[in-house]
């Protein structure tokens, strides 16, 4: 090791880094100092102790048990569950809808192609918040009153109170059906993974996945009672319901994100050069094989990374629910910080949770991406 000379670029680099780091630390220290002074002046005790205090506010819908007597921490958990619930449903629905529209964008039929284009341009060029509020108003204001509820399907009612629909009455056999499905999926996956003849194993796997739960269902006496909603005085009794807030949020997130996913799917398929298809057909593959073995593996390589961004965007966009009052992470945080005044802690905690969701999704999708885009079998 030779000694540093004054003009040494390594010395300059080291000094520059020390200067940058020092100024960032100084800025942070200054801000924290101000915050401490301000908090002390306003008599706010900092810390996360408030999470254990009683929340005393009601939450309209919750996936886990919650009462106003529960703590702020519990309320935050309710919000997190709601965020994850609406985001995961939205991701699945937007993927299905977006893929369909993306394929429609490439259809040979001119009218279908143009209709898909109009959908994409109309949805992605109008702010999501505006769309959410319009869907919400449609369900809240323009939907028919309870007594004249609109019935798009038998026993499905749309009214100002939201959407009510029938659900099957729970029977013990349903639990066994779920178990059977899991077993069938594992067995089917194993067949495909280690089976010798792909075609045979695929057929057996499909039969297992469809047949095993059905067999359990029939063996259990095929209980098929539906819990139907019935209008009883001032409300529906029975069935399950979606609040206007949840329905508007899920619908809005789905149709908005689907427009972006459609463009990703379209450019992914278009991105596989025409020569690939021609070469595959020339080799004697049939069109279905060409799609499955040649076009899709290459298209997925283009599609998956931007698709991940859309999933993350959808999850982050679910925070706009604060404008329409669905109690997800952001709204619960807002109520909490208004009640407790713990702005710094509440916002920091919320941001940390969103960041964690983003990182976990990112890492797992990257893992998936490596698997689907790897070269070779």
């Amino acid at each position: 090791m030779r000694a540093f000379s004054p003009g040494d670029p390594r010395l300059r680099a080291a000094l520059a880094q020390i200067a940058v780091a020092a100024s960032v630390v100084a800025l942070a220290a200054y801000l924290v100092h101000n915050a401490l002074v301000n908090l002390a002046r306003e008599g706010i005790t900092s810390g996360f102790g408030y999470l254990y205090h009683q929340a005393s506010f009601a939450i309209g819908e919750s996936l886990i048990a919650y009462t106003p007597a529960d703590s702020y921490g519990r309320a935050l958990l309710v919000g997190l569950c709601n965020t994850l619930f609406v985001a995961s449903l939205g991701v699945v629905l937007a993927t299905v809808l977006g893929t369909a529209i993306g394929i429609a964008r490439l259809a040979r039929n001119w009218l279908v192609r143009q209709a898909a284009l109009v959908y994409v341009e109309a949805l992605r060029n109008v702010p999501l918040l505006l769309q959410l509020i319009v869907w919400w108003d449609l369900l809240r204001v323009s939907a028919p009153p309870l007594r004249q509820a609109w019935q798009p399907l038998p026993d499905v009612f749309v009214s100002v109170r939201g959407i009510v629909f029938p659900v099957p009455v729970y029977a013990p056999v349903y639990r066994w059906m779920g178990l059977a499905l899991v077993v069938a999926l594992i067995a089917g996956w194993a067949m495909l993974r280690w089976g010798r003849q792909r075609r045979v194993s695929a057929a057996i796997a499909a039969a297992l996945v469809a047949g095993l739960p059905l067999a359990v269902f029939v063996a259990g006496g095929a209980p098929l009672a539906w819990n139907r909603p019935v209008l009883h005085f001032f409300n529906f009794v029975g069935g399950a319901s979606l609040s206007p807030e949840f329905a508007a949020l899920l619908f809005g997130l789905t149709v908005y994100t689907a427009a972006f996913i459609a463009e990703i799917v379209r450019s992914g398929i278009e991105g596989v050069s025409r020569g690939q298809t021609e070469a595959a057909l020339a080799l004697g593959l049939n069109p279905a094989q060409t799609l499955r073995l040649v076009v899709l593996p290459q298209a997925l390589r283009i599609i998956v990374p931007p698709m991940l961004n859309e999933y993350l965007a959808l999850t982050k966009n679910s925070s706009l629910a604060i404008a329409i009052g669905y109690p997800e992470l952001m709204s619960i945080t807002n109520t909490t910080l208004n009640q407790t005044g713990q702005a710094v802690e509440a916002i920091a905690l919320m941001m940390a949770i969103y960041l964690a969701i983003s990182l976990v999704t990112s890492l797992s999708m990257n893992w998936f991406n490596r698997r689907v885009t790897r070269v070779g079998p």
Binding site: N125, V126, S319, L359
Partner: protein, 365 residues
């Protein structure tokens, strides 16, 4: 078109040509024919419902909301609402007599957007024009000079506020983004780590949380007695958020520049600043223009989020107009009006970005 002529070199009759086109594009098979019929049916139904509401049963003038509903029988749009409220939705609470100023601001911004399409101006000229335009617009809005009545930022509202938030926000975020992008590619580990941490942190959280932080937490972090107005706080949150997204776009541009360019600049003896300013950035930013415009579109749409922290932007003025007791609840008319404005700006910018992308790709080939 290859099939525009028949084999004998004669032009086919127009009717036949149309039939051939329909055979190829609408009725190419059983599925295609079914899809066409289904699409025609759905489009006709939706189109009829829209026309019925927006034109046939619509009411164009009425003294108030009640009369409007009575005249349309509740079946049509009440465009009379916009007759009364369009000006409020566009300019909000800006002093009524002074509303020519926000009008000029909007016109100037639109003119600048159109001027940006002139390929001759692309480069430093357009940057200078934009900076001058932004400065003039801010002075026009604020007043207090040249005999203009001063108007506080709390009265700035509607479309000009939306445009200022988006355009000033991205103009301020841009230099910060360049610094972040260069820092992320720096050879100094401490600098790189800071840039990566900042960019990934910001990109991992929703914009609304950053705006909340700016509006609720920022006052806490300032020394006692120093206050920052609401607009400036939202603008700051916007700048900090979009700088991270723009930085990634700029980094994409930087990555596309061949290593040889940098080595050539080094060989010429240029220092870091001159190498970047004269050789690398001009090329990198040119490549990055289409994705930059896409971020601009996202930013423009995202200005609606300031509604949630209590600023009076275009969406907020529309939401406010429909709470007037005499015109309560005309939300389809109000939101259709602002949706058309947002759509016009975004659609224009996205078309511009696509055209530019095509011509840039053509230039490289």
């Amino acid at each position: 078109m290859a099939d525009a002529f028949l084999a004998n070199g004669k032009r086919p009759e127009p009717a036949r040509q149309a039939w051939r086109w329909m055979r190829a594009n609408l009725f190419g098979g059983v599925f295609s024919s079914i899809a066409t019929l289904l699409a025609v049916y759905l489009i006709a139904r939706a189109g009829w419902a829209l026309a019925d509401w927006a034109v046939i049963h619509a009411v164009w003038s009425a003294p108030d909301g009640r009369a409007c509903i009575a005249a349309s029988g509740g079946k049509g749009a009440c465009w009379a609402f916009l007759g009364y409220w369009a000006r409020f939705i566009l300019f909000g609470r800006y002093p009524y007599a002074e509303q020519w100023r926000p009008l000029v601001v909007v016109v100037l911004f639109v003119a600048l957007l159109l001027a940006s399409c002139a390929r001759r101006l692309l480069g430093w000229r357009i940057a200078v024009l934009w900076l001058a335009g932004i400065a003039i617009n801010l002075v026009l809005m604020a007043g207090g000079v040249a005999g203009l009545e001063p108007v506080g930022t709390d009265r700035w509202s509607g479309l000009p506020l939306t445009l200022i938030l988006a355009i000033v926000g991205l103009a301020l975020a841009f230099p910060l983004a360049i610094v972040l992008a260069l820092a992320r590619r720096s050879s100094m580990p401490a600098v790189r780590a800071l840039a990566v941490a900042y960019i990934e942190l910001v990109r991992g959280v929703p914009l609304i949380t950053v705006l909340f932080m700016a509006s609720v937490m920022l006052p806490l972090f300032l020394p006692a007695g120093v206050t920052v107005n609401n607009l400036l706080r939202a603008q700051l949150g916007f700048v900090l958020f979009y700088a991270a997204y723009l930085a990634e776009v700029v980094r994409g541009g930087l990555q596309a520049i061949p290593k040889g360019q940098e080595e050539a600049a080094d060989a010429l003896g240029l220092g870091f600043g001159r190498k970047m300013a004269l050789v690398i950035l001009p090329q990198a930013l040119k490549i990055a223009i289409p994705p930059l415009v896409n971020v601009l579109i996202a930013g423009f749409k995202d200005t609606t989020l300031v509604t949630i922290i209590g600023l009076f932007d275009l969406m907020s003025t529309a939401a406010n107009a429909i709470t007037d007791p005499r015109w309560r609840g005309f939300y389809p008319e109000a939101y259709a009006f602002v949706a058309v404005i947002y759509f016009a700006f975004c659609f224009f910018m996205s078309r511009y970005s696509q055209a530019l992308e095509r011509s840039l790709a053509g230039g490289r080939r």
